[in-house]
């Protein structure tokens, strides 16, 4: 090594030059969490928090067939089926047989693999484009960034139905 090399100056200067070249360029970073990536930017395959879509009459589509609960590797879906209320019609106009009286997803156990969505024969469970932290930021009472207790992470049927107002970003079986 020559004396010049020993100074390490060329190494420093060369590295610095590369850095300086980037200063005028456009910023690549997001100001998270104030300014997170928008939901719209994600495509419709994003695997975020679940939702239970409604049929055209406004009733929950799910027929409590337990396919999603069986497919779930984390064992986090709890369903209790019951006879569907009078007047709930299928697509063909018959009285529907079953609906989920209880439908809970334990978000602490969920690994967001998307198997439940793939397994559902009725397309009655979908995933939205928002992540769990984003969900809590939008839905939760002031001061909570995430849930305050384990109970907050067990999403019941009504919470999942409410998620329908999140922009349509679900995982569609054939998209």
């Amino acid at each position: 090594m020559s004396f010049w090399d020993r100074l390490y100056l060329p190494g420093l200067i060369k590295g610095m030059l590369t850095t300086l070249k980037h200063i005028p360029k456009k910023k690549f970073t997001y100001q998270y969490p104030e300014d997170p990536r928008s939901v719209e930017e994600r495509n419709d395959r994003y695997r975020g928090v679940h939702k239970l879509p409604l049929d055209p009459e406004g009733n929950v589509k799910c027929v409590a067939c337990f396919m999603c609960a069986t497919a779930c590797p984390a064992d986090c879906i709890t369903i209790q089926g019951g006879p569907a209320p009078e007047g709930w019609k299928t697509k063909e106009g018959y009285q529907r047989e079953k609906y989920p009286e209880v439908f809970e997803i334990n978000m602490l156990r969920c690994i967001f693999c998307g198997y439940c969505v793939e397994a559902c024969p009725e397309d009655a469970i979908q995933m939205t484009g928002i992540t769990l932290p984003q969900y809590f930021r939008e839905r939760q009472t002031e001061g909570e960034v995430l849930g305050g207790s384990r109970k907050d992470f067990i999403f019941d049927r009504d919470m999942l139905i409410d998620n329908n107002d999140i922009p349509e970003q679900g995982l569609h079986p054939n998209s």
């Binding site: 060369k14 590295g15 994003y46 695997r47």
Partner: protein, 392 residues
């Protein structure tokens, strides 16, 4: 209070320091996860470094026995979370080979599925090596490469998010193919990324590889020659850094790697830089060269285009016949093996993962003896371990 000592007694001419035991980790930024090293120090010199692992143990193998084959795939994501696509692939390959043992059980992965697997696997290899390059620079004391590497890795993650819907835990490669086809315009975006990325490798090289300070820290440090590497069972870039040309993609080709033209970079002596094969610098350099080879493979896919057809084979059920299989594939960190015993039911009897990082970590003790504490950081970065895979 002791009586005042004459000055000559206080200053010992030949200082002797007691052996000191320092616990490095488990929360240490340069351990790439939660690894605790028990260092036996004589002053600044490391007499022994004993790795204590298991902080990230999640019972992957035992857990797998209670799941069916499809359900295990998302958990392989959590092994090497830096290269989750390759983990999915390794497991699916094992299940497919096991199924193929029975005539007519497994029709083979469709052409388009194979191409997509290679495309995604190589993109993930680039992403993984980028992370290893960036964090290695940061461990050694250069912060800028880290930001550059993460900027470009982010582009890969966005591509993955488009194709499978997740940024790290993809669950994309499935038994029989891949889970879904490309979204519209995906290949153009891959091309755009590759066009952007190829010149970037030279920027990285000028930033870190040829940097005098970096070379001083890594050249001729912790030399692992080919014999030692083989004795420890080390694979992947760590083995190739020792000058041995061994890459499963070439030497025991699987999928359709034999249709692609690429080289296997190996470590070599460069006297003018003071670099010898098998040292930290060479292990690092092999990864940089491998990124170029991955770019070459992706370019060939872009040129030929994806063939038409389905992406996943039509399987009635994933239920391999009775038997056992050991299958290995080349993950970014080395040979990833899966040993599966099946009794013909939908759930495996035993799943054993052979993780490349675990073997690499086992060599750490011998590599670090007699070096300085600061060199330990250089070694851990150069063998590029991910604790999620070591502990499983």
């Amino acid at each position: 209070m002791a009586a005042p000592q004459p000055e000559s007694k206080i200053i010992e001419l030949k200082p002797f320091t007691d052996e000191m035991i320092v616990s490095m980790g488990p929360q240490h930024p340069s351990t790439h996860g939660v690894l605790r090293l028990e260092l036996k120090l004589d002053g600044e010199v490391v007499r022994d470094a004993i790795p204590h692992i298991g902080y990230l143990h999640r019972c992957f193998e035992k857990h797998s026995e209670n799941l069916n084959y499809q359900q295990i795939i998302p958990f392989t994501d959590r092994m090497d979370y830096i290269a989750a696509m390759n983990m999915n692939w390794g497991f699916c390959l094992a299940v497919e080979q096991l199924m193929a043992k029975e005539e007519g059980k497994f029709p083979g992965v469709p052409e388009r599925g194979e191409y997509l697997r290679i495309l995604i696997g190589e993109l993930n290899r680039i992403g993984s090596h980028l992370l290893s390059f960036g964090t290695y620079g940061m461990d050694i004391g250069a912060f800028t490469p880290f930001l550059y590497a993460f900027r470009d890795r982010e582009k890969i993650l966005l591509l993955f998010e488009k194709i499978c819907g997740a940024r790290l835990t993809y669950n994309y490669i499935r038994v029989g193919g891949v889970s879904r086809d490309t979204p519209p315009g995906f290949m153009d975006e891959v091309k755009e990324f590759i066009d952007y990325f190829e010149p970037q490798i030279d920027v990285y090289n000028s930033l870190l590889t040829a940097n005098r300070i970096f070379i001083e820290r890594t050249a001729n440090v912790a030399v692992m020659d080919a014999e030692m590497a083989i004795n420890y069972g080390i694979t992947g870039p760590n083995l190739r850094g020792a000058g041995l040309q061994w890459d499963l993609r070439k030497d025991e080709t699987y999928s359709i790697y034999d249709r692609f033209d690429f080289d296997v970079p190996v470590g070599r002596d460069i006297p003018e830089l003071g670099v010898v094969s098998g040292d930290c610098w060479n292990r690092y350099k092999v990864r940089m060269d491998e990124m170029k080879e991955s770019v070459r493979i992706i370019r060939q896919i872009l040129e030929s285009g994806l063939p038409d057809g389905p992406v996943q084979a039509e399987l009635k059920a994933v239920r391999p016949p009775k038997g056992e299989i050991f299958s290995r594939s080349e993950a970014p960190r080395g040979e990833l093996g899966f040993y599966i015993v099946s009794d013909g039911t939908p759930k495996p009897v035993r799943v054993k993962a052979k993780s490349p990082c675990f073997t690499a970590l086992s060599a750490l003790q011998e590599l670090s003896r007699g070096l300085m504490v600061a060199d330990i950081i250089a070694i851990i970065g150069s063998i590029d371990i991910v604790m999620g895979e070591v502990d499983r």
